[in-house]
């Protein structure tokens, strides 16, 4: 086994977790917009959205635990749990730590949705877009695999698409509903 095995696992786990967060946000947006109509069913879309979120948390756990297990970069428990404590690029690491907490908050409030008011749940859930921005900034600033131009460009395009999608959702939600009056036949 390579001496840097856990270092590779940490990086790969982080990339997969980021992709899963992106997929979950996209899936949730498509679900909220009812983009596919009734097929697949909204219940299936919601179930898939939730499962992608759970997978994202699992891979964040892999990312963090592998960083702790690795001895190539020496991170302590406080370095990966407390923002700005890490000596290595503290701000870049802090984006990821805050993103991790936001992800957990979104997941926990979703699991407790039945016990929460819709307003509270929605307020926390909208933070998903902030979460995606945070982890993308973390990926670009702390990640060592985003140095090429193509991935950077792709990430910026994804960010723009997400903001556009969120704006579209907001517009769609707040738009006044227009009902066509029924014409009664005499």
């Amino acid at each position: 086994m390579s001496s840097h095995f856990w270092w590779y696992v940490a990086r790969a786990g982080g990339i997969v977790a980021w992709a899963l967060v992106l997929a979950s946000c996209t899936w949730g947006l498509l679900h909220a917009l009812r983009a596919f109509g009734r097929r697949p069913s909204p219940a299936w879309m919601l179930s898939t959205h939730r499962y992608l979120s759970a997978l994202a948390i699992a891979f964040v756990a892999v990312h963090v635990l592998a960083i702790l297990a690795d001895d190539f970069v020496q991170f302590s428990l406080a370095d990966v749990l407390v923002p700005m404590v890490s000596a290595w690029h503290p701000l870049a690491v802090a984006w990821g730590i805050v993103g991790m907490y936001v992800l957990v908050a979104v997941e926990v409030t979703s699991l407790m949705r039945a016990r929460l008011s819709p307003k509270v749940w929605r307020g926390v859930h909208v933070l998903s877009y902030v979460l995606l921005a945070l982890v993308t900034v973390h990926f670009l600033s702390a990640g060592t695999d985003a140095g090429d131009l193509l991935p950077t460009t792709s990430l910026v395009l994804i960010g723009v698409a997400t903001v556009f999608g969120a704006a579209m959702l907001l517009t769609w939600r707040t738009a006044p509903k227009v009902r066509t009056p029924r014409v009664r036949t005499p």
Binding site: H4, Y8, R11, G14, W44, S47, Y51, H138
Partner: protein, 92 residues
Amino acid sequence: MARRSLSMQGRLLAVGVSVAVGSALVGVMAAGDHAADASSTNTPSTNTPSTNTPSGATGDSSGTTATPNDSRGFPTGNSGVPAQPQTRTGGS
């Protein structure tokens, strides 16, 4: 009839794809570093090594020093040793 929730096959597929992509990334990273180590050992260095003390960050199989580290053991990648792959500069 419309599906009400994600099937077990779908769940297993999602886990499988995620793990497969992660494993492939690990393989690509290891292969890239291995190739970089091989090329760096073949390139003679004219610079003097950094005064930083390496802390266990040695090459995979060549036994050469991969990247000098700072006081906390993070690879700094800014010394006079042969160029190292960017993936050795730390981070997550």
